[in-house]
């Protein structure tokens, strides 16, 4: 049992951006939880039991009941602990719709475009993939203005839904920048986002759960080696 008498467990892994989303949300709400770290490459009994449909992390287990899918968990946290901490989604229906729209955009379009860079087989394909990513960042820069209304976060004065949806990838993105030389958040191209990146990473709700860039680089290299080994073993 945790401090507040609530039983909150999070099944996850330190490197997963989707897990980081949940940790940020719980931190914002000041909710204590037990972090149950999955071993890389092995799915625990508890994971298979609590997420039989997808068998993936993160899974939030609240008073024994599992909630799955990261942004659904974030909304759940916002609703259950509505009286604690800042609102992750504002009370205004249109604002909420705007934030949900952009969170979907990040998940359905923008982050897949980032993944496409590493999957590109030719230099041409890679260049095209990079172009897509930057086109998306331009849209996100505009979204930042629309959602944040001149304040420091997509959520306004405090971290909100879209901040969490996009910001969770920053460790991964910084690692990719180091390994490829591509600068995603360029002051010249997307000044608002470039400043937001630093502000977000420095926030007290994020600091402790955002992996260090060097650790992510190490992890990424380990993954690359694993995939190469698996590919050549075929």
């Amino acid at each position: 049992m945790t401090q507040g008498g609530e039983d909150v467990k999070l099944l996850g892994a330190w490197a997963s951006p989707f897990v980081i989303r949940i940790r940020i949300a719980l931190n914002l709400k000041g909710v204590d939880y037990e972090f149950l770290e999955e071993v890389f490459g092995v799915k625990s009994e508890l994971l298979l039991e609590s997420n039989p449909v997808y068998k993936k992390i993160p899974v939030l287990i609240h008073d024994g009941k599992p909630v799955c899918e990261s942004m659904i968990i974030v909304q759940y946290i916002d609703e259950v602990w509505a009286t604690k901490g800042p609102a992750i989604l504002s009370a205004d229906p249109y604002d909420r719709a705007l934030h949900r729209f952009w969170a979907y955009y990040v998940d359905d379009k923008w982050f897949p475009s980032v993944s496409a860079i590493s999957r590109a087989q030719t230099e041409e394909a890679k260049a095209e993939a990079v172009e897509q990513v930057f086109a998306g960042l331009k849209l996100l820069e505009e979204a930042f203005q629309k959602c944040g209304k001149g304040k420091g976060f997509f959520g306004g004065d405090t971290i909100g839904y879209v901040d969490i949806a996009l910001g969770c990838f920053l460790a991964w993105l910084k690692a990719t920048e180091k390994m490829t030389g591509i600068k995603f958040f360029d002051e010249a191209k997307t000044p608002l986002l470039a400043q937001w990146v630093e502000r977000f990473c420095a926030d007290v709700a994020v600091r402790g759960v955002m992996p260090e860039t060097d650790k992510m680089v190490e992890f990424a290299k380990m993954l690359q080696t694993k995939f190469k080994a698996a590919a050549s073993a075929k």
Binding site: V53, V67, E69, I72, Q75, R96, R100, Y104, L139
Partner: protein, 225 residues
């Protein structure tokens, strides 16, 4: 005060547009329907959904909302009559989960059956069946995914009713049979019979023609490899 202006940009056949029509029907909200030509997108559509240029788009007092599930949540928060999402946060999370599962897993797997040929149909059916079995398991004992009345998850998964009947007709196979899927079969009937739902279904003969033509075109382009 003048009545708020409400427009729905959509097409006659889109299952995602249909979700919004069902929700508007359930909430008893009046609106103007603007039929879009996807091959020739209107300036209005490009203005109201510049990011995706897709339907449905709800325009409420000049403010546009895109992405069908986002629109459904907006509607429930704006028009409190006949709520489609439950009040309990855990039940809400479940409703959202099953809607997402429908869109991300069921729909593509059923689409793969539709676009398959020959023996590949059988393979695609196995995959689709796995997903449908999961839905069957979730429904067990319930009239609707939402419980006694139709809700968010039912509206989100409602495309199954239309789509499956179409595919079964075009491919001449049975995807959801009563023996293997007693709950899902019952749900399909209960859903269709819910007030206002069936009237919104696009005309079956027009859908059959459209999807038959679509399948022939898809197979023809593939066949030329």
């Amino acid at each position: 005060m003048a009545k708020a202006e409400l427009k729905l940009l959509g097409t006659w056949s889109s299952p995602f547009v249909l979700r919004i029509k069902w929700a508007l029907q359930m909430k008893g909200v009046e609106y103007d329907f603007i039929e879009e030509d996807i091959q020739n997108k209107s300036p209005l559509l490009l203005k109201y959904n510049p990011v995706h240029k897709k339907v449905p788009v709800l325009v409420h007092d000049g403010k546009s909302i895109a992405e069908s599930l986002v629109i459904l949540e907006y509607m429930d928060e704006t028009w409190k009559e006949n709520p489609i999402l439950p009040e309990d946060p855990y039940q809400r999370a479940m409703a959202r989960f099953w809607s997402k599962f429908g869109d991300e897993k069921c729909l593509p797997s059923i689409w793969r059956v539709f676009t398959a040929q020959g023996e590949k149909i059988g393979q695609a059916l196995v995959s689709a069946s796995e997903n449908l079995m999961i839905l069957e398991g979730e429904l067990k004992g319930k009239k609707f995914f939402n419980g006694e009345t139709l809700g968010f998850a039912d509206i989100s998964l409602g495309w199954i009713v239309n789509m499956v009947i179409l595919l079964e007709e075009i491919l001449q196979l049975k995807m959801i049979d009563e023996q293997r899927y007693p709950s899902l079969s019952a749900w399909m009937k209960n859903f269709s019979n819910f007030p206002g739902i069936k009237d919104s279904f696009p005309p079956q003969d027009r859908m059959l023609t459209k999807y038959r033509t679509l399948r022939e075109a898809l197979l023809a382009t593939r066949g030329s490899n």
